[in-house]
Symmetry: C2
Subunit: 422 residues, 2 copies
């Protein structure tokens, strides 16, 4: 056979922009060191996964031949109507009239919904306003599309409405307002900060989004991945309840944190005008989420097993959160300048160190922490690429995966590392 000159693979622009998620590297670092206590991964507690529920429901469903055949066949791209109805009834409490039902789309976790919405809204160079800090994987998604994440200042109530207005005014002055296509919020137990936004604040943000929608609509994307994981206080209304005409707010939800990530079922509630574009994109990617998994979740919800499981999770994670906060009180509070937030739910505690401490993988603390036997997520990964400066002295600590003992040990190891690194 003739030998030909080997020519290179030229990646598409997309491929060039799709850096591996920094958190994946961190995770594989954890896997390489089986002794390491990872307070980095946002995984859920393996011990509390709903094995019995899934076994029981799956056996019943697959025991019914007609139902089983439906589960193993193709479904419609937007997803199973029965599941979409239960989601409206139980997960994002809203009326489940047909018009609302038509706005629900089932996706591969909330992450796929975020991806599909970003694809439908953003061209390269477009801007999404995000809290600083915010969910790092979504930042990667935006970078992959060639879009810009732009930070808005936060306090302990999340994104500050006045800061949002100020940022919009600055962007308008710079002639960039028409590029602002969305405001991204994680209103419940934010990843990474753990903050829950007060109702008045999200209501104000929806009003600001509408007010500043001049030439193009500015959508509000509410990522409600952690809504179910509340350990203290009462649920607050979703951002979508403040969207009078239903044309501004997008809600993303998921069963990954509240039930099982291995089932990979999430959802979106979309303004009517986005249902077509999102489903067209999804149709081109996967024709719709697995029918098998959708039937499973619809039946789990129908039987009331989901809310029962969430109760169990709450009690288990609530203990873990207490353990982490108590360990922090014990080991970290003696260290000058170390502070952390006390969330009412979710899976994360956000800690801030003195300004001179660099928590990044290049700084001294990260390697010392690994040497002491623990891993955290450096906070710098959670900052948008534009706008406010990146804080280098923060970290995200997860309490989802590890046992109570390991959480204590991990925080103790972190305290030793901080002491040594100062």
């Amino acid at each position: 056979m003739t030998t030909f000159t080997i020519s290179p693979y030229l990646p598409s622009r997309r491929a060039t922009l799709a850096e591996g998620q920094p958190i994946s590297e961190l995770m594989s670092r954890a896997l390489d060191n089986p002794g390491l206590i990872s307070l980095a991964a946002g995984f859920v507690d393996g011990q509390s996964l709903p094995v019995d529920i899934v076994r029981e429901v799956m056996a019943d469903l697959l025991g019914d031949h007609a139902e089983a055949r439906a589960m193993l066949q193709y479904g419609a791209t937007p997803g199973l109507p029965a599941l979409r109805r239960e989601i409206l009834n139980q997960c994002t409490p809203m009326d489940s009239r047909q018009e609302t039902l038509d706005r629900v789309v089932i996706t591969a976790g909330s992450n796929q919904l975020l991806h599909l919405v970003a694809e439908s809204l953003l061209d390269p160079g477009d801007i999404v306003l995000c809290a600083a800090p915010t969910y790092l994987v979504f930042l990667g998604t935006l970078a992959n599309l060639g879009a810009k994440s732009w930070s808005v200042q936060t306090d302990d109530g999340g994104m500050i409405p006045e800061a949002l207005e100020e940022t919009l005014a600055q962007l308008a002055d710079a002639g960039e307002l028409a590029k602002v296509k969305a405001i991204y919020l994680v209103p419940y137990f934010d990843n990474p900060s753990g903050i829950t936004m007060p109702a008045e604040r999200v209501q104000r943000i929806v009003a600001i989004a509408k007010q500043w929608s001049h030439r193009t609509r500015i959508h509000v994307i509410a990522d409600e991945a952690y809504r179910e994981l509340r350990y203290k206080g009462e649920d607050v209304p979703s951002v979508i309840e403040f969207d009078d005409d239903g044309e501004t707010v997008i809600v993303a939800g998921t069963f990954s944190k509240s039930f099982s990530p291995g089932v990979r079922i999430g959802w979106g509630i979309l303004p009517e005008h986005l249902v077509g574009p999102v489903c067209a994109q999804k149709g081109n990617i996967d024709f719709g989420s697995p029918n098998l998994n959708q039937h499973l979740m619809a039946e789990v919800l129908r039987r009331g097993l989901f809310s029962a499981h969430v109760e169990t999770l709450r009690s288990s994670y609530s203990k873990k959160l207490d353990v982490m906060l108590n360990a922090a009180d014990e080991y970290l509070s003696p260290l000058a300048g170390v502070k952390w937030l006390r969330p009412n739910g979710g899976l994360y505690v956000w800690a801030t160190l003195p300004p001179q401490v660099d928590t990044g993988p290049a700084g001294e603390l990260f390697d010392r922490s690994v040497a002491e036997g623990m891993l955290y997520v450096p906070g710098q990964y959670c900052y948008p690429s534009e706008g406010q400066p990146v804080a280098k002295n923060c970290m995200r600590l997860s309490f989802g995966v590890q046992s109570c003992e390991k959480i204590r040990e991990g925080i103790a190891a972190l305290a030793r590392a901080i002491t040594a690194a100062y």
Copy 2:
């Protein structure tokens, strides 16, 4: 509350290019007419779905607590190693050394693999050479990315190597060669033509791809979605076996046709240089396919239940194909100028009518067929957007879903419609 002027949603370029799949409309037309015999949808036979296998394996797996927990937890983005190994052993027979295993990625059907590969290879304006006709959904994916599908002439052995060279020469003359990033083939029981490409021809096409890879590599994408569904003759080697250095050929496979579309598990075997880009894209979309479904398929394969099921399918579809071909002999052969191919496998029969007959939804035949009680896929949807002219006088007839009786009735109805429309 203040009333603000409503500004419009401006779709992204992607969203503008994502036309709904024409086949979706056809399918919903079928759903609206329950009496209609659809020979259009590429669905699989609901009666032959592997209900007992899935029930049994799922019960066993979920009965083991440790295994069940693994199934319900997150997995790695490229997919479950055990499943990837079984795929190499049983589905795309290749050595399963670690280097090959690292090139296997699990996706949501083969369609997601095609999407991820297209994202990793193509910028807007880039060109993919396709057989005319070819798989219509992939044409939609290319259009969605702003890429061009470019047709290459075919005969009853599929894409003609000499025509491929001629097309490449023409594109080179036009200064467009650097934009050609891939050649797309459906080598086994092509959708829509049913054609299987002879080994010498695919080998020749791989050589041409390498030879014409001047400034940028031209990949060969082999969509092997129907490989398992052979009813006559012996399996032929995959295109990937002719790729000496493993840098040119991409294989896409799926369990959607050979097992269950509702499980939504497919795979790709990629050149090493594409594994990173494809996984980075997939990570941004869904973090990896559902672990639940991957464990299921790995165990189904491990127990030898997959190949057993494929045997059952072959015998059932083989009968249906015979029924369709016999019905065509009986009802269509008396009609002047009506011809069709006789495939050795797959789910489709490709028919050609006299040149003056327009089979499209705008022509007379489509409505007459619906009136007579049957639905087909107009062939014009299966033609690339550039290059050869689109044939308007063809149609795809599926024998997967309908019973033998309905297949006969459907072909009889088609014959009546053709007679009336002439």
